[in-house]
C-alpha cells in the first residue's frame, strides 16, 4: 500500500514537473518558451552587415525568389524621363528617382530635400476632407509637394529645412540636445492656397512589412482602448482609410499616420506620388489636372503590372533582423524597464500573424514588432496639425521598433521619428508627449544607468 502511494506520488510529482516545465506556446505572454532573438519568427534573418534589412524571408520557392529579385532590381533602379527604352516615365515632378534612394539599404534615407539620398517629403492639404474622409488636396498641388522636376519643368515648390536646438537637462544633470525642424517653402509654381497644412514624412524602413500586413485585424483592434478604460493614459484607435484599388474603406496599417491599408496601395502610391510613375493601382500622374501635365506626352501606364507586383512582393518578402545581446544583463534590465515605464503600452512587443498558406514564413508567426499599428496622440511637440482620415493633427501611428538598433549599420547615421529630427534614442524618447507623456516622464526620472539600460535594450532590437 505504502509502495503504491509512493508510486502514485512520484507519478503525480512527475506530472506536475512536466506541467510546470512545459511551455504553452499558445500564450503570447510566455516569453521563456521562445528564442527572444526571433523578432520576425521564422521570417528572421541573422546578420549584422549593412544588408541586414535586405534578406528575403526563408523558404521562398524558386519562382518566388525570382520575383523577389526582380522586385529588388526595380526597387534600386533609377527611373528616367519618358520616352526611354527602359525605366521611363519619371515625373514630370517628383521627390526622388529610385525607391532605394529614399529607402537606403531598405532602411530610411537622409532627412533633407532634393538631393540624391533625400528621403523627406511634405504632404499638403487644405482644411476639410475629400469625398472619402481623407485629406482635402490642395488645388494645383495635390496631396504631396513634389519639390524636384525634370529639366524644363518647374518643381511645385522649393523647401528649405533648418533646425533650432534646445538643450534638455535630466534631473541628474545629464543633457540632451533636441533638434526642432522648421520647413520654409519658396518659389511655388503657382501661389500656395491659403490655410494649407503640411506634414513632413521621412521614408521608413521597408522590411518586415509582409508580417505587419498579415496581423489579423482583430488583433490590432484588441489593442485599441479609445476610451482609456484601463486608465493608463493610453488610448489608441485604428485609422480607417480609403483604398483606391478596392474602392473600400479599410483598416490603415502603413504610412506614418496609418493612412494606407495594403502594401499594394502603399507601393503603388509611393511610385506615383514620390516618383510620378503610374500603374494599374494608381493610373493617374501625380500632377494630373495641374499645369505640369502639359509636358506629359505618354499617358499610358509607366509601370508594367508585373514590375509593380514584383516590388510589392519584394517588400512583402523582406525578413526581419534578429536581435543581438539578448542575454546581456543590461539589455535584460532595459527590457524590464521598457515594460515598467510602459513604453510597451503602445510599442506592443508580441503578437501573432494570421495564417497565410502561400508564404509559410509569414504564417502564424510569433513576432516582436513593438507596434500596435494604432494611432496615438503624441502631443504638440511632434504634431503636424494635419488630419489624415481618422488620425488627428497630433496623432501618429506607433512606429515599429524592430531593427532600430541596426540603423547605424544600414545607414551610417541613424535618424529617428517621423521626420528624422532625432539623432539619438534618448532625444527621440524626449519628443514623446500626449499619451506617451507619462512613459517619457518616467524615462526622464530614471537614474542614468537605467536610462542607458533602456537604450541598450532598444539597440538590441
Amino acid at each position: 500500500m505504502r509502495k503504491f502511494s509512493v508510486i502514485i506520488g512520484c507519478v503525480l510529482a512527475a506530472t506536475c514537473c512536466i506541467m510546470c516545465r512545459k511551455a504553452d506556446p499558445a500564450t503570447p505572454g510566455n516569453d521563456d518558451a521562445f528564442d527572444p532573438r526571433l523578432s520576425g519568427g521564422a521570417a528572421t534573418f541573422f546578420d549584422i552587415s549593412s544588408g541586414t534589412f535586405s534578406a528575403p524571408i526563408p523558404g521562398l520557392s524558386a519562382h518566388d525568389q525570382y520575383v523577389h529579385t526582380l522586385g529588388d532590381e526595380v526597387f534600386e533602379q533609377p527611373f528616367v524621363a519618358a520616352p526611354a527604352p527602359k525605366f521611363g516615365g519619371l515625373g514630370p515632378a517628383f521627390n526622388n528617382t529610385a525607391c532605394a534612394n529614399c529607402h537606403h539599404n531598405d532602411g530610411f534615407g537622409l532627412p533633407s530635400f532634393g538631393a540624391l539620398g533625400s528621403s523627406l517629403l511634405l504632404r499638403i492639404s487644405i482644411p476639410g476632407t475629400d469625398e472619402h474622409g481623407g485629406p482635402n488636396a490642395a488645388p494645383g498641388f495635390g496631396g504631396q509637394l513634389q519639390n524636384v522636376a525634370l529639366l524644363g519643368v518647374q518643381p511645385e515648390v522649393h523647401v528649405d529645412l533648418s533646425y533650432t536646438d534646445q538643450l534638455f537637462t535630466f534631473p541628474d544633470g545629464a543633457t540632451a540636445t533636441m533638434h526642432t525642424p522648421l520647413y520654409t517653402l519658396s518659389a511655388p509654381y503657382i501661389p500656395l492656397p491659403s490655410g494649407y497644412m503640411l506634414s513632413p514624412r521621412l521614408g521608413p524602413p521597408v522590411f518586415g512589412l509582409g508580417l505587419l500586413e498579415n496581423i489579423p485585424e482583430s488583433t490590432i483592434l484588441s489593442f485599441a482602448d479609445p476610451l482609456d478604460k484601463n486608465g493608463d493614459g493610453i488610448k489608441g484607435h485604428a485609422n480607417y482609410v480609403f483604398n483606391p484599388y478596392t474602392q473600400k474603406k479599410e483598416l490603415g496599417r502603413f504610412g506614418l499616420k496609418a493612412n494606407t491599408s495594403t502594401l499594394q496601395v502603399q507601393v503603388a502610391t509611393a511610385f506615383q506620388q514620390d516618383m510620378g510613375l503610374t500603374s494599374y493601382v494608381q493610373p493617374r500622374k501625380s500632377v494630373y489636372g495641374q499645369l505640369q501635365m502639359q509636358s506629359v506626352t505618354d499617358t499610358g501606364k509607366d509601370l508594367a503590372d508585373s514590375m509593380l507586383n514584383a516590388v510589392i512582393f519584394y517588400v512583402r518578402s523582406l525578413s526581419v533582423p534578429a536581435r543581438r545581446n539578448v542575454s546581456d544583463p543590461v539589455v535584460k534590465r532595459g527590457e524590464f524597464l521598457f515594460k515598467q515605464v510602459n513604453c510597451s503600452g503602445c510599442h506592443t512587443p508580441t503578437m501573432y500573424t494570421g495564417v497565410d498558406v502561400s508564404l509559410p514564413a509569414l504564417s502564424y508567426q510569433r513576432i516582436h514588432p513593438y507596434t500596435d499599428l494604432l494611432v496615438h496622440d503624441l502631443g504638440p511637440g511632434l504634431a503636424d496639425n494635419r488630419p489624415d482620415y481618422l488620425a488627428s493633427g497630433t496623432e501618429w501611428r506607433t512606429a515599429p521598433l524592430w531593427g532600430m538598433g541596426l540603423f547605424v549599420k544600414t545607414n551610417g547615421t541613424p535618424y529617428y521619428l517621423h521626420d528624422g529630427r532625432a539623432r539619438t534614442i534618448p532625444e527621440a524618447i524626449l519628443w514623446h508627449g500626449g499619451e506617451a507623456q507619462s512613459a517619457r516622464d518616467k524615462f526622464v526620472a530614471l537614474p542614468a544607468a537605467d536610462r542607458d539600460a533602456l537604450v541598450a535594450f532598444l539597440r538590441s532590437l
Binding site: S49, S50, P78, V80, A81, K86, N101, L116, L151
Partner: protein
C-alpha cells in the same frame, strides 16, 4: 598485392603530410587586429588615394581637351577615363562605410544614361559648372554621362563632333567626379572623417563595429556583395534580356574591364595586396586555421578571373555572340560568391569571437 596498395597509401599520406607541412610553415599566423589594420593601411587608404590621383589626371585631361580639342587630347582623356574606372571598380571590392552610407557610389556611377534628359540638358542649359552638375539627377552625373560625351552614343565621337555645350558639360562632370572622389578619400582619412578608425578600432572603441567579428564580416560581405552584383546584376541583367543597352559602360565598351576590376578588387582585399604592397591578409588568417578553405577561395578567385578572361570580345558583343563564355564566367563568380557568403562568413563566426 594488397600490401603494395597499402604501401602506396602510406607513401601518399607521407607525401601529403610533407606538402602540408611546407605550406603551413610559410604562412604567418596573423592576428585579427593586424588583418583589420592592414586592410585599412594597404588596401582601403592607398586605393582611395589612387582613385583621387587618377580622377585628378582625368580632370586635367578633360580641361586640356576642352581648351585644345584635338583627337590626341580626346585619346588622352579616354585613357584617363579608363584608368580612373579601373581604380574605382577595384574600390568596389570593399563597399563599406561612407561610400555606401553617403551615396558616393550612385553619385558617380549610375547607369544606364538618361539620353533624353541628357540631350535636353545639353541643349537647354546655360550653365554646366560642377555646381550645376551636382544639382542634377544621378543619371546625369558621374562617369557614364562623361563616357557618353567622350565616346559618343555609338562610340564614334571625334574631336570635331563634340559640341561646345558638351565640352562645357564634360568639364563640369569631371570636376564633379573629382570632388566626389576627394570627399570619399577624405571620409576615410585620419585628417578627415576618419572612418578608418572605425575599422582599426573594431571591438575596441569603434561605435560601428563593436566586435572584430563584425568588422571582418563586413569586409567578407563587401567581397561577396560585389561578386553578387557582377554575377547576378551587371552581367546577368543585360545577358538575360539580350540587351546591350543595359550594360555598365556601353559607349567605351569598357564593361568587361569593369567586371574584371571588380573581382580583382575583391581579390585584393582577400590577399591584402595592392600595387605590389602586401600586408597581413584575411587569406593568411584563414590558411593558418583552415588551409583547404583558403585554397578553395584562392582557386575560385583565379577561376573567376580566368573565366572573365575567356570572353574575347567586348561585353556588348559577347551578350549576343559568346553566351557560353559569359555563362561560365557568371557561374564561376556565383560559385565564389557562395563560398564567401557561406564558408568564409561561417569561418569568421566560428574563429573570431571578440
Amino acid at each position: 598485392m594488397k600490401k603494395t596498395v597499402l604501401l602506396f597509401i602510406g607513401a601518399g599520406t607521407l607525401l601529403a603530410t610533407a606538402c602540408h607541412k611546407t605550406t603551413t610553415t610559410t604562412t604567418a599566423n596573423v592576428t585579427e587586429t593586424e588583418v583589420l589594420t592592414d586592410f585599412v593601411q594597404k588596401i582601403a587608404l592607398p586605393q582611395y588615394q589612387d582613385l583621387q590621383d587618377k580622377a585628378t589626371v582625368l580632370n586635367n585631361a578633360v580641361i586640356a581637351l576642352n581648351s585644345n580639342t584635338t583627337n590626341a587630347n580626346l585619346d588622352a582623356a579616354r585613357t584617363a577615363w579608363r584608368n580612373v574606372r579601373t581604380s574605382w571598380e577595384q574600390c568596389e571590392g570593399f563597399l563599406i562605410g561612407p561610400v555606401e552610407d553617403d551615396n558616393y557610389d550612385p553619385n558617380m556611377d549610375t547607369w544606364p544614361v538618361d539620353y533624353l534628359q541628357l540631350d535636353s540638358f545639353i541643349t537647354n542649359s546655360t550653365s554646366f559648372s560642377a555646381a550645376t552638375v551636382q544639382g542634377l539627377g544621378q543619371s546625369l552625373r558621374g562617369f557614364h554621362p562623361l563616357e557618353f560625351i567622350l565616346w559618343g552614343k555609338s562610340g564614334l565621337a571625334t574631336a570635331d563632333s563634340i559640341s561646345a555645350s558638351q565640352k562645357q558639360y564634360m568639364t563640369g562632370l569631371s570636376q564633379d567626379i573629382l570632388s566626389t572622389v576627394t570627399a570619399l578619400n577624405s571620409s576615410w582619412a585620419a585628417s578627415g572623417s576618419n572612418f578608418q578608425s572605425q575599422v582599426i578600432n573594431a571591438g575596441g572603441g569603434s561605435t560601428l563595429y563593436t566586435t572584430r567579428q563584425e568588422a571582418l564580416l563586413a569586409i567578407a560581405a563587401g567581397m561577396a556583395d560585389i561578386c553578387d552584383e557582377v554575377g547576378n546584376g551587371k552581367m546577368y541583367e543585360p545577358f538575360a534580356a539580350y540587351d546591350s543597352n543595359k550594360s555598365e559602360s556601353p559607349f567605351s565598351h569598357n564593361s568587361m574591364t569593369d567586371f574584371t576590376s571588380n573581382i580583382r578588387g575583391a581579390q585584393n582585399v582577400y590577399s591584402c595586396t595592392y600595387n605590389s604592397a602586401t600586408g597581413a591578409s584575411l587569406s593568411s588568417f584563414v590558411s593558418s586555421r583552415n588551409l583547404s578553405l583558403d585554397n578553395k577561395i584562392k582557386q575560385q578567385y583565379a577561376a573567376a578571373l580566368t573565366a572573365l578572361g575567356n570572353v574575347s570580345v567586348n561585353f556588348e558583343t559577347a551578350i549576343y555572340s559568346q553566351r557560353t563564355q559569359l555563362q561560365n564566367a557568371m557561374n564561376a563568380i556565383k560559385t565564389l560568391q557562395a563560398t564567401l557568403d557561406g564558408d568564409l562568413k561561417a569561418f569568421i563566426i566560428s574563429y573570431v569571437k571578440d
